[in-house]
């Protein structure tokens, strides 16, 4: 897994609450059987003025000039600033894949939808929860100053603004550890293979029908 320790980058806004996974990456792009290449279709319906199709080049598609990611000042942004319940809706991991592929390393919001939040960590993308007054402050400062950069340090779990304000955020210890070290979840779990086998024996004694095989095509 990709690791995350520190990162500094330009912040860009997605200034609305309840940004759902259909907005992050519309379903026509989920037909891919790959993990990469979704960045050009991130926020597709808002970013372009036409309806995007899978396997289509985005060069020459009409851009929505009012959409922040199309504005010069947010060019190269790698920190997304947004509102509550970001990532609600589907469990599609294509949403963090698209954010990552676009170049985002970090998303800051007052809250995230559970599955999306979880999926981010699997892809080296750091979701940061800050309370809404702090998020408000970041939005205001960002709008006021083109090229506004935020510095994120996962070791100290902090976000620092250009003027030096530092906000701490909370992350579950195991998620923080895995992200810092770039550890592979499957390898970690397989270290407990014996525990899993022991559990299966106990479980089969208590609820043997659970182990009836799915078969019989």
């Amino acid at each position: 897994m990709k690791s995350f320790t520190t990162h500094s980058g330009i912040a860009a806004p997605m200034d609305r609450a309840n940004v759902d996974t259909d907005l992050i990456i519309p379903k026509q792009f989920l037909k891919s059987i790959k993990r990469t290449g979704f960045g050009k279709n991130l926020f597709d319906a808002m970013r372009y003025l036409d309806e995007g199709q899978p396997d289509q080049s985005c060069d020459g598609r009409p851009l929505n000039k009012d959409f922040p990611l199309n504005m010069k000042r947010y060019h190269g942004a790698s920190v997304l600033l947004t509102r509550g319940n970001f990532g609600c809706g589907s469990s599609r991991e294509h949403a963090p894949w698209a954010l990552d592929d676009y170049g985002f390393r970090c998303v800051i919001a007052p809250s995230f939808a559970d599955i999306f939040y979880n999926n981010c960590f699997k892809n080296g993308l750091l979701p940061i929860v800050l309370d809404s007054t702090k998020v408000d402050q970041l939005f205001k400062e960002m709008y006021a100053a083109p090229g506004y950069e935020l510095a994120i340090d996962l070791n100290s779990s902090s976000v620092t603004t250009p003027s030096g304000d530092t906000f701490n955020f909370e992350v579950d210890e195991f998620r923080r550890h895995c992200l810092l070290e770039g550890l592979d979840d499957i390898d970690l779990t397989l270290q407990h293979s014996n525990d899993i086998r022991d559990f299966e024996l106990r479980h089969a004694a208590a609820a043997p029908w659970v182990f009836d095989a799915i078969q019989g095509n």
Binding site: I33, K34, I115, D172, I186, E200, W209, I214, N217
Partner: protein, 476 residues
């Protein structure tokens, strides 16, 4: 110590509590579909990992499959959209390579993942169930701990039979009393989402209880649990009772003989203890729930059918107000407009929320002997599985729909998310029995209104929303 149902399900699947706060939870059943699995199988191959326990997986294609008889006739090869075809073929190939049981495209048991799980008996009370799809909570209706996972977790479950998880908090949503006539499980869950909001259940496992849930059929409970995710919760569950046990008996993968007897005894303990403590309890009065219609672009934006589109000016929270204003623009509605005045273009009856036999019956009962309004360009009924389709046809429901001018389709997700050819045109309004009214969900620029099957059926006949309770009155 007194435990909630969620506590019991968690404790009975806890493999290892790790020092860093995470836990390994054993997964009893894993359901696979074509959209979220290809990258997981690819990951296994690349790391040369063997799946842990193959015979616990079951797969079916649903999101991309066409729903017209013509396009289904020649199976996978007949799927016109090449990208969709590749995805379905990839699922077939992966199941073949790994030896996973699949209900392939034209198998009579094929269907939407969350419909086939309980229908086949693959998902049973007391099990942990996962699937790379957020509506997996549907299986909670039979007293299983079920939730949606991402693709990395699909790979993780295939490789280890476990999920790395953190225990959620306990919420009880109690729906008291009795539902009025014409009010359905869909109205109950829409009213719940309207009340607690789309983030209200975030971090919780929701147990749905109260007299209304006890009186509800298992299929109705599925509709409720299905949309737990729309309330922000990853899992929704309902305690096991006799209704549950009657439902699971005799299904393909349900145990028989002595194992059945043993299972029933075990399952009878699957309810929250009387003294169990919930972190949050929300109560609703079932008798005051009316048929619901969503007006906006989030499932919490619902009002009773007798109501009006709300006015953002009356809301003080700036973020919420802005969301409402944006939704009004997207939906092409004005504040104060009567719900019954919304002009509808299409009707969709289907999806993992409402595509089971009871839903088909409820819709058929409303349209029987009536004709679709001319102003509705397309009204389609898409059964959730091949078995639902066969049952409906055995009851003659397909004829009822066709006679009324509705289209009767082949099973799949269809216009719920419009990954196949079934979609809304730009600006079209649709009465839909699905679960999400997000921007573009049912097609680019499409405008979705979430309703129950009976309400969707009534809208197909009237051409606009109408209180199904009055409608039934008129027809009889």
């Amino acid at each position: 110590m007194a435990k909630t149902l969620y506590d019991k399900l968690w404790d009975s699947h806890l493999v290892k509590q790790r020092d860093d706060g995470s836990a390994l939870i054993y997964i009893d059943r894993h359901i696979i579909h074509e959209v979220t699995s290809p990258q997981a199988f690819e990951g296994l191959r690349m790391a040369r990992r063997e799946p842990w326990r193959l015979d616990t997986n079951i797969a079916t294609p649903d999101h991309n499959v066409p729903t017209t008889v013509a396009e289904r006739a020649s199976g996978v090869a007949g799927i016109e959209d090449i990208v969709s075809r590749t995805q379905v073929t990839t699922l077939d190939d992966n199941c073949e390579e790994f030896g996973i049981m699949e209900y392939a495209i034209n198998d009579k048991r094929q269907g939407i993942v969350h419909v086939i799980g309980p229908e086949s008996g693959a998902c049973l009370p007391g099990m942990t169930v996962v699937c790379g799809d957020s509506h997996t909570a549907t299986n909670g209706a039979v007293g299983a701990l079920a939730h949606g996972i991402g693709t990395s977790e699909v790979e993780h479950v295939l490789a280890t039979q476990c999920l790395v998880s953190m225990k959620m908090k306990n919420m009880l949503v109690k729906v008291n009393g009795e539902l009025g006539e014409g009010v359905t499980s869909k109205d109950v869950i829409l009213a719940i989402v309207g009340k607690i909001g789309t983030a209200g259940g975030s971090g919780y496992a929701i147990e749905f209880g109260g007299q209304v849930m006890r009186d509800m059929s298992i299929e109705g409970r599925m509709t409720v649990c299905n949309m737990a995710i729309e309330a922000g919760a990853r899992a929704g569950i309902v305690a096991v009772d006799q209704t549950t046990i009657d439902y699971v008996q005799g299904r393909d993968f349900t145990p028989t003989g002595k194992l059945w007897d043993q299972a029933v005894v075990f399952w009878q303990g699957l309810h929250s203890d009387d003294a169990a403590k919930f972190d949050l309890v929300v109560e609703l009065d079932g008798s005051s729930i009316e048929p619901q219609v969503s007006w906006g672009t989030s499932p919490e934006m619902v009002v009773p059918v007798s109501g009006r589109v709300p006015d953002p000016a009356a809301v003080s929270d700036p973020v919420k107000k802005e969301g409402m204003e944006r939704a009004l623009v997207y939906m092409g509605l004005t504040a104060g407009q009567a719900i019954s005045d919304i002009k509808l273009d299409k009707v969709f009856i289907g999806s993992c929320t409402n595509s089971r036999i009871e839903d088909m019956r409820a819709a058929a009962q409303v349209v029987k002997g009536q004709k679709k309004a001319d102003s509705i360009s397309l009204a389609m009924v898409v059964p959730g599985s091949g078995l639902v389709k066969a049952q409906a046809e055995a009851e003659g429901l397909d004829k009822v729909f066709i006679d009324a001018g509705l289209e009767w389709r082949e099973p799949g997700c269809s216009m719920c998310l419009a990954m196949n050819a079934d979609k809304l045109g730009n600006g079209e309004h649709c009465a839909s029995t699905s679960n999400r009214n997000f921007e573009g969900r049912q097609g680019y620029g499409g405008r979705t209104h979430l309703v129950s099957p009976a309400m969707a059926a009534a809208a197909a006949i009237a051409g606009h929303f109408i209180d199904v309770r009055e409608f039934v009155g008129d027809a009889s």
